[in-house]
């Protein structure tokens, strides 16, 4: 069969991803909720892929939650974004790598606006100069952190110690992938696979031995909604969105969920706990939840990193069922220890949701 035409079509769904020399900007949510994920990303970039990736201490938020919570105007956001670009420029970098999907969406939106309205770009330059004295160049390449792992997924597979394969049965693990709304819903051409066939996580899962589940609500929002979660009165919306996804994926019996955005894994993890406690409903095996991971954590597991070094102990849904399936060894006694083996107590057990220890 001649597959040239198919390849040509698929080409339209690819994006350019720089292969080295990255300027890294951290995520408001990922730093707080999954600190081990960011640490693991940089460890893999430096120690496994031998890349030059730089972090400037005085970079900040892009204002993302403020912008989508509608307390920060676009002109402010684009000027803060311009400041991030200035820091990148000052240090001689041209490739920007955000750790957050909403940041990625905002950088994309700002660059898109500047491309259509050069006067806005000029305004950003003037604003930044006036407020900070800084000047900037537009990044040559913008890629989300997951895009980088997607690009090097086969290189990572080549040095992997574990696969996304059930060590007992030899069958691929069934994986739900959730890419996060702001990765490609607004600007499909900027995400690997676009909005219709997002492949950034699926590519990693397939390269690392797993099988991606295609379920009806695969593209539904996790329910963060910014002010919809942060304000207590609105949280019914947030949990309802996640519940819709759980109900939809449950019949496929997923072994795990892999996520792209920093917020989604927090909601898909914590709302499983809340649904269990509120309604007595659990979605994993034997009264447990479906383990939820960031893409950095999954990469770390595949490479054989200690689960507690990459931060799996901060998840509310126990991750041990997945570790057991992959045949990954771990020491349960060390799960909740602080630095240097310091004993700092353990979390209480939930009433309904079963956890391991």
């Amino acid at each position: 069969m001649n597959t040239d035409a198919k390849k040509a079509v698929w080409k339209n769904y690819q994006k350019e991803i720089a292969d080295d020399n990255y300027f890294y900007v951290r995520s408001c949510v990922r730093q707080n909720f999954f600190p081990g994920a960011e640490a693991t990303f940089l460890r893999i970039m430096k120690e496994e892929l031998n890349k030059d990736i730089f972090e400037e201490p005085s970079h900040t938020t892009c204002t993302g939650i403020g912008f989508h919570g509608d307390i920060v105007p676009f002109e402010t956001t684009m000027t803060v974004v311009a400041r991030q670009f200035a820091l990148m420029t000052e240090h001689g970098y041209k490739n920007l790598v955000p750790s957050c999907i909403t940041s990625f969406g905002i950088y994309t939106e700002v660059l898109d606006a500047w491309s259509h309205y050069p006067d806005l770009l000029e305004k950003a330059r003037l604003n930044l100069k006036k407020a900070t004295g800084r000047e900037f160049e537009i990044p040559k390449n913008l890629a989300h952190a997951s895009d980088i792992f997607y690009k090097f997924r086969n290189e990572l597979a080549a040095i992997a110690k574990y696969k996304l394969i059930n060590a007992n049965t030899g069958q691929p693990l069934k994986v739900v992938e959730h890419i996060g709304c702001h990765y490609a819903k607004m600007f499909p051409s900027k995400g690997v696979g676009g909005a219709e066939y997002p492949y950034v996580l699926s590519g990693m899962v397939e390269s690392w031995g797993g099988e991606v589940i295609d379920y009806p609500e695969r593209r539904h929002c996790c329910g963060f909604g910014f002010r919809q979660y942060l304000v207590q009165a609105n949280r019914g919306f947030s949990i309802a969105c996640s519940k819709k996804k759980f109900e939809s994926m449950e019949p496929y019996k997923p072994d795990m969920i892999i996520t792209n955005c920093p917020g989604c894994p927090m909601f898909l993890d914590k709302w499983q706990y809340a649904i269990a406690e509120l309604e007595g409903k659990t979605y994993g095996q034997d009264g447990m939840g479906i383990p939820v991971f960031t893409f950095e954590e999954v990469a770390g597991l595949v490479l054989g990193y200690d689960p507690w070094d990459i931060g799996l102990q901060v998840h509310q849904v126990a991750t041990e069922p997945l570790l057991d399936k992959m045949g990954i060894g771990y020491d349960p006694r060390k799960k909740y220890l602080g630095a240097n083996g310091k004993f700092i107590g353990k979390p209480e057990m939930p009433d309904v949701l079963k956890t391991c220890c």
Partner: protein
């Protein structure tokens, strides 16, 4: 994409894909329709209503609209104008903007990020569960265990953002409209709190903020009952 609204054909695809429309009394198709009508009275009523505050800004509407429109972006414009004019305090959901300003807004200026660990404790976020509760009791230890530079100098996870960097962010906010929006949110909220008979004050520990944070009149998704 150049604009968030080209001539809308009222097909309703946005409503079909919208997570908020599924949960709330919300219909993005109607929002686009009202904006397109350019009827000032209807627009003012919309900006004083709960309706514009239901959207989660996931932007799923952008992907599916056959005209390339983004009702989510229209919502952002309406919310901006509602806050500019002070209409937001006329609805339960709109009044919540003060909470957003006093948390996310002030955290950006004080800590350099939209979220501040100590600000999202299990007291106000019980759904975060016992592991988060454990982390809250041992912030420094858990952060150190996971390689963070918690409140430290230099690069790293949750480092202390240098004062000169925070000053640059504040100067940007002052110059580009964020500070002005913050001040308007405060001004209109203070007036509304007084009208409603609530004690207001700075920070989160006052009757008005407690009310806007937790008040839900249960009338927002009645179509599904």
């Amino acid at each position: 994409m150049k604009e968030g609204l080209k001539a809308c054909i009222n097909c309703g695809t946005c409503t079909a894909i919208c997570p908020a429309a599924e949960f709330y009394n919300y219909d993005p198709r109607e929002i686009a329709d009202i904006v397109q009508l350019q009827d000032d009275e209807k627009l003012e009523a919309l900006m004083k209503s709960d309706t514009i505050w239901y959207c989660g800004e996931c932007m799923s509407c952008k992907t599916r609209c056959p005209r390339g429109n983004a009702p989510g972006l229209i919502i952002m414009a309406l919310r901006a104008l509602s806050q500019e004019k002070g209409y937001f305090v006329e609805s339960e959901k709109g009044r919540q903007q003060l909470y957003m300003k006093r948390t996310v807004g002030e955290w950006i200026l004080e800590h350099g990020y939209c979220l501040y660990l100590e600000g999202v404790g299990t007291e106000n976020h019980p759904e975060q569960g016992p592991v988060w509760d454990w982390r809250q009791k041992h912030w420094g230890d858990v952060m150190e265990r996971l390689g963070a530079n918690y409140k430290g100098a230099g690069p790293g996870i949750l480092r202390k953002i240098p004062d000169e960097a925070l000053k640059e962010i504040k100067d940007i906010f002052d110059l580009t409209g964020a500070t002005e929006r913050f001040e308007k949110i405060e001004k209109f909220s203070e007036k509304k709190a007084s009208e409603m008979g609530y004690k207001s004050g700075k920070g989160l520990d006052n009757d008005y903020v407690e009310n806007i944070f937790s008040k839900n009149n249960q009338q927002h998704n009645s179509k599904h009952e």
